[in-house]
Symmetry: D2
């Protein structure tokens, strides 16, 4: 079951780490750390193997993979040894990367995107292609137009949809499942849900849960299970790199920060005081530091506190989850699942559907879902 | 269903906070924060209500409850308002506290302890009495003597068992369930298990999970669920107060530190490098500070780290759990359960039986168990 | 040498903590912790004693001192014991507090303020009165008008100056030294400097250095002395209370945040990346938590990092410095000093003049200055 | 003024980082970050330049420099680029490294050591050689024998002195200044002081101040200058690598921990509660993490706290100081200074003599001393 993984933002840190990593894993150059689908509870024949994943994608940047890998090694994101070992495969990977198409209307753009993806599928003889958005975070956007109206709008000149939604539109018209690893709008519009439903395609999102929110998703349930009242929860995220620069824009920052606090209200049942602050510090690069302060009341109102610092490499945390999502979504597509894959909430800060927000509950849902995919028909 | 709670170490911080707190809760002076049995998933008719709990206990100290409450208020453990509101009930509570009996043999001591408990049960007209050990941590101890041999030994002069085990022996002979909230030996001896089995009595333990280990029991599973390899996990606990002074003794410290690391191997499946260090700093008192450093490897071996500081009031965290354990164990006894209550692992650092060590798994087991107690026979 | 201390914002947390504290110190109820003027290097006969300080002030609030003290005790800012011991002196203190005068022009307002201060001086038979601004932070403001022009403007209706500058104006016309403990404009206008110079009056400021910036003023020099290159320095301040709510206003926040970063450029010789973020979290109250992350490069460029968390009670840190500043400024006035007291940089985040910004250098300057005041004429 | 630097422990991390670093600095491959002698306040003609330093040394290990450099690069201690750039000079450096001599008596061993050093001086035509001990920490040792007696003892078979003292003895008999960068005994014996005095040689020590203690030496004075009472100061150091393994030995650990707490009593004037804990965690390697908790009381006794984490690369922090010490000690020797160089306290945790322990005071003393060396005779 050869599976295409079509990355939106294919020359960015997360995408390149994913591609290089998958290549290294296929060659047995590294252990599959960080890959959830390698855990015994999830592993199985339904998921495409490392050797069955084929990569391609779009990007507005034209940085070469060689240069990007060099940068990632210098920044400590990619270890030097596996990076060197796969260097000879970068030209082949690079051949599958396309510039973002330009056209008179957004509808025409989606047609060209879909054609790129379809060409990739046919030329490489793939069973299916999963489209994964790992491009920059966009400002919040909403639009309630039904599908028919939206298609009319797209056929006229002018900007109707943000890129993440254009890609979702294109993926669905090309018959591909779509995964949004960012907080951008992506498939989260009524018209796109309608399009996916008509095409019988699954999709997943939003916003990969890699660091601070991951920790929140186990600590907040801990306070809830112990009936400790969380009074305040304040977080600061310092990060550089492309994602950081992008999040320095207040509108995009708002999209992210709101996504990051949702877990608290959902698992605690109330919203404590405090907010999540994201700050761009260029020099920090990909090794984000998050610091959170939690104050809480216990027996008879006694006040206590906890702090944590998380020092994680964002791309190294994201890349294996991108691979996991591609594998599981491909298997779900193969098994005929369609619509929002709410059972994949484990991977996301801002999951689709009315789902558990505690990590343990999400894990149980995920394990059950993947077990179902492995079960003989 | 009036239920007695017989506290070993009844004039210590945890016991006094428990008694004062239960009195305040009964009077509606405070919300039941920290009490797990008040959560909707556990609450129900099978558990004795706050108004149905009656306290008594043994202690080697003769500090008055008035003085102890004054100290706890000064230290910020007990808030001033509820403490003042229940001041007039301290004399009545105090009347039920007994000095530790003295006798020529340990067997005779257990008989006198059992008689104290039995007097308490009869005079107060209690349905049952749950004995809860909240006294100081003892050094590690083990003894493989079968019950018959042990009884012979106890009948001779000399020290055969540590106090926690003597109290367990006495509880069982008095027909009472026994809960060990400390890392001491307590009921963890083959002879005592035999005694409990013969008497058809339930028991629970060991070592209340109040702070650092509680956090570990959600963070370690998080790393496991994400297939992140924990390389090192080192913890430092700074604490003063009675428990701190006691743990400054290397032998007792060893009992505690070993109890605190068990969760890692159990939830990760391997033992990362690093250890747990406990240090007595008198001035820090009951507001323990724990600091943990976790280093881990992710995708392609990239190294990352996390730190947390926990600043919690030990007695305020422990007391509601003591009340929870008394309520649940009483209900279990009423329902005819006997032997080790392994479903109560949620409360303990070093739980009995082959049980889950992740907090979410323990919570599910606990909720199921309590639901069974509430179910009509 | 009886000395008046006239507090602007006299019913606020810092002012009330200062007054209650001075009263307690006079009565020998507490050690003078936090009071720099009690250190052997600064103590001496030139400074007014605790028994020689008399308090008064203005405030727009009409909260009673009794209520304010009750709030401060509940919040843990004022310990209960000394607060209770001075309760009987609150009515006398309260009698010296005045509402903020209202008039048709700001010039008339300054006249009424000056008159209040003068009445206080005459009625209490004071040698002098030091005016200290401990009111809320104002937005940044600047104005280059010379004194004559400014006086014309003030005589017309309309708002010309912010309150802190009006008080400075009034203080100088009343012949009083002026200390600005806040980041507000205060005496930092050419016209006011001219006014102080003509009146031969000393003044000091700006922005009491109580927590995070205090720590920065020793850590930044440490990096400089070791030739370690600070790459980034990012700070987050979480605080509630009146000052916090006030700083939630972006304009006032800017005044404070800029004041807090100045020490880095001044002591390092360059400005590292990163900024200081202030966030209002009501529930945190006066016990501010600051967290700073510093990343730096050492030998051959090796990257390292340091984090600190500061959990300090703002009012308890500020109040003794207010008393120190009142004592030293009074002695400077008595000794005939006038103009900006640049030697008091030790106390401030954003000190006047071209002065050292490392704490040790500031300490040496302060000690030399105070020694000069103690020296016989 | 060509100057030899003879390193005891010459194949260890600190020594190799020093040699590689000096080679890279000489070639202009890196900025001299971390080198205090490059700051404008200390730089000058009296100090030997990078091109004038020539390295040699003893070690009990026979690891090749090539292998050691490879390990240091893999561990992130040495950046890959400068390490690669100096690779061709490693064989020449290696030729000057000697195994530790073996002989029937310790006196004979010192004679052989001195001869190795003297050969190095003559063969390389050096003006002088500074001997610097950067070998493993030894257990505490003391011995009050006068010089004459000690020499008799050394002439008999058996172990009389620890290695650090043997090297000091040898250095002095070879006419070389001696610097002890470790907490070991080194020259701190009456007999060795006598020997140095007779030979008119300077010496310096003890225990390079690279991380946690450096921070303490600015924070403790900050608390003192603000009259804040430090109640507790507890530190935990987690480290791996050779130094870490060595410090896992309780006797050596004691030497280090005692050296690390001295700064508190010296700068505060009293000893707060708490201690410094050192723990060996192999996997952490050279990137030590120290965590300190400081609790303190301020105005009216209000309790506050501060925490810091220091994540520094020990060898990268130590190496430039080793070079600084070699340069300054060489210049002091050239200028005819002899005896303990107490003005170098800035560099040490446990400095010689009755000197300031606050970093700013130490810096002033150092700058004055070096200025004196630069002054024309």
């Amino acid at each position: 079951m050869t599976t295409g993984v079509w990355l939106i933002g294919a020359r960015g840190s997360v995408a390149v780490t994913s591609m290089v990593g998958a290549t290294a894993l296929r060659a047995g150059l590294a252990e599959p750390l960080g890959c959830v689908t390698e855990l015994p509870q999830l592993a199985g024949a339904a998921l495409p193997g490392w050797g069955e994943l084929v990569f391609g994608g779009h990007d507005i940047s034209d940085i070469t993979l060689e240069k990007k890998v060099e940068d990632l090694v210098a920044a400590g994101v990619l270890p030097a040894r596996p990076a060197a070992a796969v260097a000879d495969q970068l030209p082949a990977l690079q051949k599958e990367l396309r510039p973002v198409p330009v056209a008179a209307t957004q509808l025409e753009v989606t047609r060209l995107i879909a054609q790129d993806i379809d060409d990739f599928r046919r030329q490489r003889g793939l069973s299916r292609v999963v489209v994964v958005n790992v491009s920059s975070t966009e400002p919040l956007f909403s639009c309630d137009r039904p599908l028919a109206g939206l298609q009319d709008d797209l056929a006229s000149p002018g900007v109707v949809l943000p890129p993440s939604s254009l890609y979702a539109y294109a993926a669905f018209t090309a018959g591909c499942p779509y995964v949004d690893f960012t907080p951008s709008t992506g498939a989260r519009l009524p018209a796109l849900r309608e399009l996916a439903a008509r095409a019988g395609l699954p999709y997943a999102g939003h916003d990969g849960k890699t660091g601070e929110t991951l920790v929140k998703s186990v600590l907040a349930p801990m306070f809830a299970m112990r009936n400790l009242r969380v009074r305040t929860w304040s977080g600061t995220n310092l990060l550089g790199g492309g994602d950081g620069a992008n999040l320095a824009d207040p509108a995009r920052n708002a999209a992210k920060a709101s996504s990051k606090q949702r877990v608290l209200a959902e698992t605690l049942g109330y919203q404590p005081q405090g907010s999540t602050h994201i700050e761009y510090v260029d020099d920090i690069g990909d090794f984000k530091t998050a610091w959170d302060l939690v104050t809480f009341s216990g027996f008879l109102g006694t006040r206590m506190r906890m702090e944590f610092s998380w020092h994680g490499c964002d791309s190294a945390l994201a890349a294996p989850l991108v691979l996991d999502l591609a594998r599981i979504t491909a298997a779900a597509h193969a098994a005929g699942r369609s619509g929002p894959l709410t059972e994949l909430a484990f991977f996301f800060k801002d999951p689709l559907g009315d789902v558990p927000h505690d990590l343990a509950g999400q894990w149980a849902a995920l394990a059950g879902f993947v077990r179902g995919l492995h079960a003989p028909a």
